[in-house]
């Protein structure tokens, strides 16, 4: 076989290998095997420049001792380094004689005499170097050099493919993890758990892979960045233990993180307590954390000691010289900062890492924002519920009071008649007895009448006292703006209006005079009215609330609150009973608590009026007097 046909055969073989598989290590190993065997060399090696440290690493070799794998060369160091630096091939029949030669015992280079080293060229700088060694001293043919250079060209292609493939893989992985995280985050509304998932993904996950992560949020009251959660090993030993454990869980890592409920473990970790004890003022040019918030951009700090925004105290607390910070932003508002470092494996934080982290923080922001909104919702619901309970309770009491009043009223009228006529009878008897001689009988009859009228008087006093006693709830009044009170009451229904597609229209007369009201009680009334409207507006519609000042009977000034809905009104038989406390307690929904509303308004000296238009809606008028008039009749 001629030289050139061998060369051709080698090239064909290498091309086939280069195109056959996507696993780079395997490809390189196969190529080396072909080179070594077909070119009849004693050893062959491929070095590639590692992006992370910029050194030449031995990626694949044949005919070299195992220890050779540990070799990392600087660009320019030794023959291989020189080739990588210059980008030109070098053929040496006596390699060790060459001034560029550096001896590495791991390669046992004393065994070899001749060395051919060709660069794996891409654009610039080269990607690596292919070396072939021969024990026997020999001169390399031009043909051989050309073949190896051509192979190097093939390897460049392989590497490009592999890099492309790696990038695709990374992107796929990134997408998958982001998706998983978003699912996990959506599934929880508990702040702590959500944040825990996020920080886990940053630290333990394959995506972030940072050693430690700390979360700071803005405390509005103190204007400080307060540490609220820290995740990471407490020590080097802890780190090793955790990473060994995590290695076993690879693949289902995220599942594990999400299902994990041992948050006590993290809460009790030394690192978490450490982070929770950190607090930094939110001032411009003060520290890197506040600067992250104020400038809304991430910082990648590589030499903390020289950085103007990092104090020595901060470096000592963290124990690292390299870290990164990323702002947490939701609705264009900064909520806090995440700080990450690689304290235990000292890995450099690349731009890619940081980019990824920035994406993660979006989820963290969502978690915080969601949970904030959710807890607000819970608070509002709780308030509504307790309001409702209070109303029901008050309503029951009011029902009793109402009944007592009703009975008293019914008794009072006959009593007035009985007592009134008994008095008349007594007077008549006394007048008659004076006119007649034989008046003893008439006198005793007058006495009987007096007994009746005295006893009636006693009953009247009893009724009066009972009624005073049964008068419900003393008012705690203070001057206030009714419009503001309405706004506050409406606030609780905000989400309800939105959900039910209710169009809220408010027309408040400005500069209404201040009213003397028991704010809590009037709020109950307003909430009750809006609640009733909301019930009837289950299919959406309009709720209109107006306030205005008007005259009553040309004598009194009053403020009217008008609440109108388009909920279709209530059936006539129900409407007739809306103020009946016994009726309303049995029917939840329509007219709930209107009797107590009336009671409250009446206690304020006001009145309540309801208009019902079947097919259209209900309009309620609350008339409230400008002054409290309990003493009105005394003058």
């Amino acid at each position: 076989m001629t030289e050139s046909s061998i060369s051709l055969e080698i090239l064909q073989e290498v091309t086939r290998i280069a195109n056959s598989t996507l696993d780079l290590d395997e490809t390189l190993q196969n190529i080396i095997q072909v080179i070594k065997n077909k070119m009849h060399m004693d050893a062959c090696a491929i070095y590639l420049i590692d992006e992370s440290d910029g050194l030449l690493h031995l990626k694949a070799s044949m005919g070299l001792p195992d220890d050779a794998k540990r070799i990392n060369l600087k660009i320019g160091q030794g023959v291989t380094g020189w080739v990588a630096q210059q980008g030109t091939s070098l053929a040496l029949s006596e390699a060790m004689q060459d001034p560029r030669f550096v001896y590495f015992p791991e390669i046992e280079e004393e065994k070899f005499h001749s060395l051919l080293s060709v660069p794996i060229l891409a654009d610039c700088p080269p990607l690596g170097v292919i070396n072939v060694h021969s024990v026997e001293k020999r001169m390399f043919q031009l043909e051989e050099i050309t073949v190896l250079e051509t192979i190097a060209g093939q390897v460049t292609g392989c590497l490009r493919n592999a890099i492309q493939f790696h990038q695709n893989q990374m992107m796929l992985k990134e997408t998958r993890i982001l998706y998983d995280i978003s699912l996990a985050v959506q599934s929880t509304l508990k702040l702590e758990h959500g944040l825990w998932v996020i920080l886990s993904a940053i630290t333990m996950g394959e995506a972030g892979g940072f050693n430690r992560a700390m979360l700071f949020t803005i405390n509005d009251k103190t204007q400080c960045l307060q540490g609220i959660m820290g995740m990471g090993p407490d020590s080097q030993e802890d780190a090793v233990r955790i990473w060994t454990e995590l290695d076993k869980k690879r693949g289902s890592l995220l599942d594990w993180v999400i299902k994990e409920t041992q948050s006590d473990l993290i809460r009790n970790s030394k690192f978490n307590s450490f982070v929770c004890g950190l607090s930094y003022p939110l001032n411009p040019n003060d520290n890197v954390l506040s600067e992250t918030v104020l400038q809304k951009k991430p910082f990648n700090i590589t030499h903390a000691k020289e950085h103007p925004l990092v104090s020595q105290e901060f470096i000592d607390a963290l124990g690292v010289d390299t870290f990164a910070t990323v702002p947490l932003i939701a609705h264009e508002e900064v909520l806090g900062v995440i700080l990450v470092d690689n304290r235990y494996d000292q890995k450099r934080i690349t731009e890619e890492n940081l980019r990824f982290l920035t994406r993660f923080t979006v989820y963290a922001s969502w978690v915080i924002e969601n949970s904030r909104l959710f807890s607000k919702l819970l608070d509002t619901n709780r308030e509504l519920l307790s309001m409702k309970e209070q109303l029901v309770q008050a309503e029951r009491l009011s029902a009793l009071g109402e009944m007592a009043a009703e009975v008293a009223h019914e008794i009072k009228n006959p009593l007035v008649s009985i007592g009134g006529f008994a008095r008349r009878l007594k007077d008549k008897m006394n007048t008659l007895s004076k006119k007649r001689e034989d008046s003893d009988e008439l006198k005793s009859a007058a006495n009987y009448s007096e007994i009746i009228s005295n006893e009636v008087e006693r009953l009247e006093r009893l009724l009066k006292n009972t009624l005073i006693y049964s008068k419900s709830g003393a008012l705690e009044t203070e001057e206030c703006q009714i419009n503001k009170l309405i706004e506050e009451s409406l606030y609780m229904f905000k989400s309800g209006f939105f959900e039910k597609n209710i169009n809220l229209v408010t027309q408040f007369e400005e500069d209404l005079p201040l009213l003397n009201l028991d704010q809590q009680k009037i709020k109950q009334v307003l909430i009750n009215l809006v609640y009733n409207s909301l019930e009837s507006l289950s299919m959406g519609g309009m709720l209109k609330i107006q306030t205005y000042l008007e005259d009553y009977a040309q004598k009194q000034k009053m403020v009217t609150v008008r609440v109108e809905d388009t909920g279709g009104g209530v059936p006539q038989d129900i409407f007739e009973n809306i103020f009946n406390p016994f009726f309303t307690t049995k029917h939840s929904g329509t007219g709930l608590g209107l009797s107590i509303c009336r009671k409250i308004i009446e206690n304020h000296g006001g009145s309540i009026r309801v208009e019902n238009q079947i097919g259209k809606g209900v309009t309620v008028y609350l008339h409230l007097p400008l002054q409290m008039g309990l003493d009105y009749y005394k003058n």
Binding site: K412, P414, S417, G420, E602, L630, Y633
Partner: protein, 121 residues
């Protein structure tokens, strides 16, 4: 002779008031409902009206508003079995408020006071 219109849904109370007030020298007419009272006012205007609050149909407060709006400022004494309506600001449009009692002295005193005030004013 001063004339008084008594409006109350309880027949016996109307009767009691009429007897007592006539004894005191007033000319007394009666009405059982707010509607009847308003009708009566179309024919003649009394010097004073005693108005029960709780009545079926139009209540006393509403009747009062109609009277004050339509018939002018006729003195009105609101009367009720208990003091509940005393705090209702609408009741303040009346000239006096008296809680019903078998003892009519307070009512009679109030009537006198109103007449004296009107004469003085």
């Amino acid at each position: 002779m001063k004339s008084i219109l008594v409006v109350d849904d309880e027949q016996n109370i109307r009767f009691l008031y009429k007897e007592e007030l006539e004894d005191d020298g007033y000319k007394v007419s009666v009405a059982a409902t707010g509607e009847e009272a308003l009708q009566k006012l179309d024919n003649s205007i009394p010097d004073l009206i005693i108005l029960d609050i709780k009545m079926p149909g139009m209540d006393g407060i509403e009747v009062m508003r109609k009277i004050k709006d339509e018939k002018g400022d006729i003195p009105i004494i609101l009367c009720s079995a208990y003091g509940r309506y005393k705090q209702d600001f609408r009741a303040w449009a009346s000239d006096a408020y008296v809680v019903k009692s078998a003892d009519l002295r307070e009512l009679k005193l109030t009537i006198k006071e109103i007449f004296n005030q009107r004469i003085a004013g």
